[in-house]
Amino acid sequence: MILSPKTLERILDCACAGGVDFAEVFCEETQRNTINVRNSGVDGSSCGRESGVGIRVFSGLNAYYAYSNDGREETLLRLTKELCAACKGGAVQPAPLRKLVDYGRGKENLSFSSRSYKEKIRLVERAIHAGMDFDSEISQMNVRYLDSDRHILIANSEGFLGADRQLKTRMLITAYAQHGGNVRSGYIGPGAMRGLDFYDEIDLEACAKHAAQAAKTAVHAEKCPSGMMTVVVDNGFGGLMFHEACGHSLEASSVARGNSEFSGKLGQQVASPLVTLIDDGSLPDEWGSVPMDDEGNPGQRNVLIENGILKGYLIDRLEGRRMGMAATGSARRQSYKFAPEARMTNTFIAPGNSSREEIIANTERGLFVGNINGGSVNPATGDFNFNVTETWLIENGKLTRPVYGATLIGSGGQVLKQVDMVGSNLKLGQGYCYNNSGALYINAGQPTLRVKNILVGGLR
């Protein structure tokens, strides 16, 4: 629902007359297609347009937000007035809107509708067949295909007017293996900020086989033991460990009010000197990238930790006011139904010098984690947890037996200091991140690395 500049100005005028010191209108029109396919056929689909408007106003450090998919001006003005009723400031004059800054330029020829629904199903079926053909123990393949073509327009009372178009697509491939009454799964989920040409460049069959191999290994695995262990986390989505262990704790929503273990620690050694943590929303074509963030700032590279020293936070406009610091191009929201907050984009540990082989060979006893299912953290304490997959025991420097069913827990501040080997093989993996401003597309990445001690919660 993309409003005209005149309507945008009338909403901003209405807000500023109501006693706020900043007002913003966010318009969104997103064409979204999701298709769920099993080896037995299409299991469900969801196609249509997500469309609406979000209005945000600030009064000092307080933020008020309203949203609706009723784009009629009278509805939006009524919601604006309801928001302003809670504000106590005097009227201000918004700046006239300047010339449009269009971050979506050059994407005019890209479209997901260039291929039919049927063609998309055929694409998915390639992955299904490759997985089912991988091994007789593969009992089922589930693939969720999605594409989204997101048009956004932002106007604010400082005169900014900006637009972006973000095309993203992803295929979430899950294989199930059955053996001796047990069913276990393997998973891979490639995605990018690209059109459908993305699938011409990746090896879908190889992805499906990876998921199938992971499922087959898991169904023959033994229960993971419990206790403190040295853990080697492989490159790629293993980087979610740092997303949970410290990424969320560096977001302004936690830091600004002192609700983070990293509040007030800029310039201090918070991690092993081997750790450099970067969040970069400006990476071209990546799943977590934001050419324009959801407040109108360009996505940028933010070095959060450099050689173990805390260098910065992820900051949005509101919390930036509280912290007295500038926004970092990190404001994100799932859709117009959420007010934006500073969130991670593409977050990764910079490469070091070791090889994966060296790291494993130097570990006498421990756990090798190939992938991470998901996790969460409490930023105030730093207590995090994540559930792992594609997991093996390391014995005498070698991967020996596959294990399943483990959750790793710890405190972010402690784990960061326990990193003692970092590989050179940086890779990014795709995923989702859930928090106050909704479910977002994110990349998490790292090279293979080793953490000396983590508490492993296994099934035995």
């Binding site: 629902m1 029109e29 299409v42 689909s45 969801s46 196609c47 249509g48 347009r49 997500e50 469309s51 609406g52 450090l61 307080n62 933020a63 008020y64 937000y65 309203a66 949203y67 609706s68 998919n69 009723d70 784009g71 009629r72 919601l79 928001l83 009723a85 809670a86 049927k118 009992s139 089922q140 199930y176 059955q178 069913v183 276990r184 419990s226 206790g227 403190m228 009010r257 609700n259 007010a339 998901g374 969460s376 105030a380 304490t381 207590d383 947890n385 994540f386 559930n387 399943y404 069913g405 483990a406 959750t407 827990i409 710890g410 508490l455 492993v456 919660g457 296994g458 099934l459 035995r460």
Partner: protein
């Protein structure tokens, strides 16, 4: 606006060759108010009308979801229905339209100033409970009114509406270098009284303070008392095990176990759509089928699973009224209304005494990743208290609790008498505390 759109869309779609139509209309409005240091720091309003349209084209069913009611998009919407119908080749099944009379009453929420007062009072209560409370991180109340209407091209229509809210207060407490968090939330129906926010605030703050000075626990199997909120989280995570679709697709440990003992004789589980305290108030599901009471587990025996129309049709039976959507934009899948794990007779004190020496767990996290609904296995970060001779002696943090949900239900020594509710999105679960013979605990061994 939406009703007029539906009428115009119906005319246009019929002209374009669609033979039947079914509309799922979700209308909702809501308010969210948050207080920080005594004043309103966040306020949110929303108002939405969202449509999911299914249409029959060449004998098959296609669909599209609609949030933008601009008439210029009708052609694109009809084309999407046609394209998905041809590709899917799924048969069109019209909604059912049971006789459900319109219910009376417009629910209103508290005026904003009164809500702010209640929240500020709750925040103050938390701060005043103990000097070690450093921050009330969140003190928020969400309220929402929602209406679901099913209608078609022939003028059939049926509606259900309800209104609910949710209060949450979270605090941090500090002692020397140790920070502990606590919180308490409660979901409620808006046609009843608002819960006592200040009392909940006190309980949330107490949780944080009581964990100060906590340590870990030794690794090994140990007897455990799970608080109702923890049991709710586990049951909510493993409810998909009871979905007929998952059983049919070999994705549930309950496959082939109808009529068999799957847990201890002391376990009964049932669905109660009309439960007065139920947080889900639905007379029919998202496919228009009446919701009905049913027993899932009776004295340990697996009795029935949850069917929507599709999973029921594949067994040649009728839907159980469990066809619910995850979101308005999705096709109806499986869900539930109010699921109750039947309580026992023991008070919390009695359960603690019976535990003797062991662990009382009052908080788990990471359920979405650490619980596997196919196998029933779980491994979760947890918090709680060390119990010795039936008395709480110390807080416990930085541990994991692991096991298998159905094994756990086979080893329940006693059930508490008090139920707690949780609305997890797919439906609402009510659970008592469970005293479990043993679960696997992982902690730092030094602190045993």
């Amino acid at each position: 606006m939406v009703q007029a759109y539906i009428r115009k869309f119906t005319r246009f779609a019929m002209e374009q060759g669609l033979s039947r139509l079914a509309f799922y209309l979700e209308e909702k409005e809501g308010r969210s108010v948050s207080v920080y240091q005594g004043s309103c720091d966040k306020l949110e309003y929303f108002q939405q009308a969202q449509l999911f349209v299914e249409g029959e084209y060449e004998g098959f069913c296609g669909s599209v979801f609609v949030e933008n009611f601009d008439e210029s998009l009708m052609r694109e919407q009809v084309d999407t229905i046609k394209e998905t119908a041809i590709a899917r080749k799924k048969l069109f099944v019209p909604y059912e339209y049971p006789l459900c009379p319109e219910t009376e009453g417009e629910t209103e929420w508290l005026p904003l100033d009164q809500m702010l007062e209640k929240l500020a009072a709750a925040e103050k209560t938390a701060y005043e409970l103990d000097k070690q409370i450093t921050t009330v991180q969140r003190c928020v109340c969400h309220e929402r009114k929602q209406k679901v209407t099913l209608l078609d091209h022939q003028g059939h229509s049926v509606s259900d509406h309800w209104a609910g809210g949710n209060f949450f207060l979270g605090v941090s407490a500090k002692q020397e270098d140790q920070v502990q968090l606590g919180g308490k939330g409660k979901a409620f129906l808006l046609n009843k009284e608002y819960p006592d926010f200040s009392k909940l605030a006190e309980q949330g703050a107490e949780r944080a303070v009581s964990k100060l000075g906590s340590g870990s626990y030794r690794t090994g199997n140990c007897p455990v008392l799970l608080e109702p909120s923890v049991v709710c989280q586990l049951l909510d995570a493993f409810m998909p095990t009871f979905f007929a679709k998952n059983i049919q697709n070999h994705m549930s440990v309950l496959e082939g176990k109808t009529g068999q003992m799957i847990c201890g004789e002391n376990i009964c589980l049932y669905e109660a759509p009309q439960l007065a305290e139920g947080l889900v108030q639905r007379r029919f599901d998202d496919e228009g089928v009446l919701t009905t009471e049913k027993t899932l587990i009776q004295q340990g025996k697996f009795r029935t699973c949850l069917y929507n129309r599709q999973s029921a049709a594949s067994e040649g039976i009728s839907s159980g009224g469990n066809g619910f959507k995850a979101s308005f934009s999705d096709e109806a899948d499986t869900g539930y209304t109010n699921i109750v794990l039947q309580p026992g007779t023991k008070t919390q004190d009695e359960l603690q005494k019976e535990l003797g020496n062991g662990l009382l767990i009052d908080d788990v996290s990471g359920v979405f990743a650490g619980a596997n609904p196919v196998s029933g296995d779980f491994s979760l970060i947890a918090k709680g208290y060390r119990v010795e001779n039936g008395c709480v002696v110390k807080g416990v943090t930085q541990i994991t609790v692991a096991g298998n949900f159905f094994d756990l239900l086979c080893h329940v020594k006693a059930l508490g008498s008090e139920l707690e509710a949780m609305d997890g999105g797919k439906g609402c679960v009510f659970c008592p505390a469970l005293l479990v013979e043993k679960l696997m605990i992982s902690g730092e061994e030094l602190d045993s």
